[in-house]
């Protein structure tokens, strides 16, 4: 093989890995988005649990956020991947099915990102809720709003407003955690870069290309979150 340059190897020509890298970038984006959404659901539930007056719920919420923020993400991924398929296969055996059962790697990856991300999002939501003004909640109650209505009209819009900067941070965590999903065989951006590096023996080109693509994703999301923040804060006076 004659030596070829950076632009040829990551480009779109016959020997270029451009299409493969772009596809892998979209897989990275998809798994991070799914993980982030799973995390939003779990995070909202955990925040509600932590803020609840029930001691049991608060303990469960605290345990979740403490454990999941306290152990390495990679360990969570391994637990989901190997533990999950082992548990499913054993469950299948009990029900009389003798084959291998496992979740697709994409689902495993999104769930693993989701449970970790949810723990961080719970703290973001909790912090945002605590910065609501008590007076507004009291006012809502005093005009006879039901809890559901108060939640929808008063709590959610303001929590989202305060949560956006924190969520932007947590989203970037999800995006970068997706790189760890490469260990379970999902061909996302990092894994594709490793495959290209090992196959062409040109690691520099591939890791450089992957870094550029990750940076593009994070830069675009930073801008998007900034826009969302500006929009959410419209009508709110800021101290100069």
């Amino acid at each position: 093989m004659t030596p070829i340059g950076f632009f040829e190897i990551v480009g779109f020509g016959e020997r270029g890995w451009g299409p493969a890298l772009l596809l892998a970038t979209s897989v990275t984006l998809a798994v991070a988005v799914c993980g982030f959404l799973v995390g939003s659901v779990l995070g909202a539930l955990a925040a509600a649990a932590k803020l609840s007056r029930s001691r049991l719920a608060a303990t469960i919420g605290d345990t979740y956020t403490t454990v999941l923020r306290g152990i390495p993400d990679l360990l969570v991924i391994y637990l989901f991947y190997f533990g999950g398929s082992l548990a499913l296969t054993n469950l299948g055996r009990m029900l009389g099915y003798d084959g291998f059962l496992g979740l697709p790697v994409f689902v495993t990856g999104a769930l693993a990102i989701g449970v970790v991300n949810g723990a961080y999002q719970a703290e973001v939501f909790r912090g945002a809720y605590l910065s609501l003004s008590k007076g507004e909640l009291e006012a809502a109650r005093s005009v006879g709003m039901s809890r559901a209505l108060m939640f929808r009209r008063i709590v959610v819009p303001q929590v989202m407003r305060y949560a956006i900067p924190g969520l932007g941070n947590v989203w970037q965590l999800a995006l970068k955690e997706s790189a760890l999903i490469s260990v379970i065989g999902l061909v996302e951006l990092l894994r594709q870069a490793q495959i290209g590096a090992g196959s062409t023996r040109q690691p520099f080109y591939f890791f450089l290309a992957a870094a550029i693509l990750y940076l593009a994703l994070t830069t675009i999301s930073t801008i998007a979150f900034q826009k969302a923040e500006n929009r959410a804060m419209r009508g709110v006076r800021r101290a100069a």
């Binding site: 897989v27 291998f100 059962l101 994409f106 490469s182 065989g185 090992g198 690691p203």
Partner: protein, 285 residues
């Protein structure tokens, strides 16, 4: 013989299933055999930009499957999870430059080896280690005295040097056992990574298979890398590269063994080995 689509679910597959993907276990009587490879270890097995697989083991798998009269499906699996996924039944066999070792034999079964390449040290040509003594081939099994003498001769030269090696490999086991007290071992995820650190001067030497060195030295920036010392094999370095299967699948193991014997006897393995490595790595015996 179809080369299976190598890359994971991709976007389409990704969006599809929140449902369980149930994959049936190996069909009884072995009509289809799923073989896992790393897809990132040129020239053993690697990927093309379009996602198709190529390399020594891909060609070999195709001829072995033809001889076994089964349909093969080749799947890509990251190295770190390659044995656990075999055991959990994701696929039925591994062909990924994997050496037979005692530790691996405790958990999986192996066919007879289809390649038995020597392993050794490589350094940059301007390194003080460039004239490290030793040459030819040495077996850890049959020449233990010669190996001990070699290590004794190397000790003063290697004292405190930093040697890179791919982690979780027989090469790493060799370094730990024979040179662990003498050199500082630095483990890497892939061979490319230690190659880079060798050329960057962060490592004094690397320990890997000679076949990997040959491939690396074809790159212009590694033209002055040099293999030093003898080619080592046997013992902790493993009894050669073989097909890994689940222990209970003795029938499949025997099918692979028979097919490998045929491919050795009619020169197919030698031919493929010379095509991909530029050297004959047919295992002895």
């Amino acid at each position: 013989m179809s080369k299976t689509k190598a890359f994971g679910p991709g976007l389409a597959g990704a969006v599809v299933a929140l449902a369980l993907a149930a994959q049936p276990a190996a069909a009884q009587g072995w009509e289809t055999v799923r073989i896992a490879t790393e897809g990132a270890y040129a020239p053993w097995n690697f990927s093309n930009p379009d996602g198709t697989l190529a390399g020594f083991e891909i060609d070999l798998a195709n001829t072995l499957c033809e001889r076994m009269e089964v349909t093969c499906e080749i799947v890509v699996q990251d190295w770190a999870g390659i044995i656990p996924s075999l055991q959990s039944g994701k696929y039925d066999a591994i062909m990924a430059g994997m050496n037979i070792t005692d530790q691996r034999l405790e958990v999986i079964g192996f066919s007879i080896p289809y390649a038995g390449g020597p392993h050794g040290l490589a350094v940059m040509a301007d390194s003080p280690l460039a004239d490290l003594p030793g040459e030819g081939r040495l077996s850890l099994d049959s020449d233990p005295d010669a190996v001990a003498a070699l290590i004794a001769e190397w000790t003063p030269m290697l004292e405190g040097k930093v040697i890179g090696v791919q982690g979780s490999t027989t090469n790493a086991n060799f370094l730990t056992e024979y040179l662990g007290d003498i050199v500082e071992i630095r483990e890497y995820g892939t061979t490319e990574q230690h190659d880079l650190d060798l050329s960057a001067g962060r490592l004094d030497g690397i320990f890997a298979a000679h076949s990997a060195f040959n491939a690396t030295m074809q790159k212009p920036e590694f033209a002055d890398m040099k293999i030093v010392g003898p080619g080592l094999s046997g013992g902790v370095l493993g009894r050669g590269v073989a097909v890994g299967v689940r222990q209970e699948n003795e029938d499949l193991r025997d099918m692979f063994t028979k097919a490998i014997e045929e491919a050795k006897a009619d020169g197919t393995i030698k031919e493929l080995s010379e095509k991909w490595f530029g050297l004959d790595m047919t295992p002895a015996g």
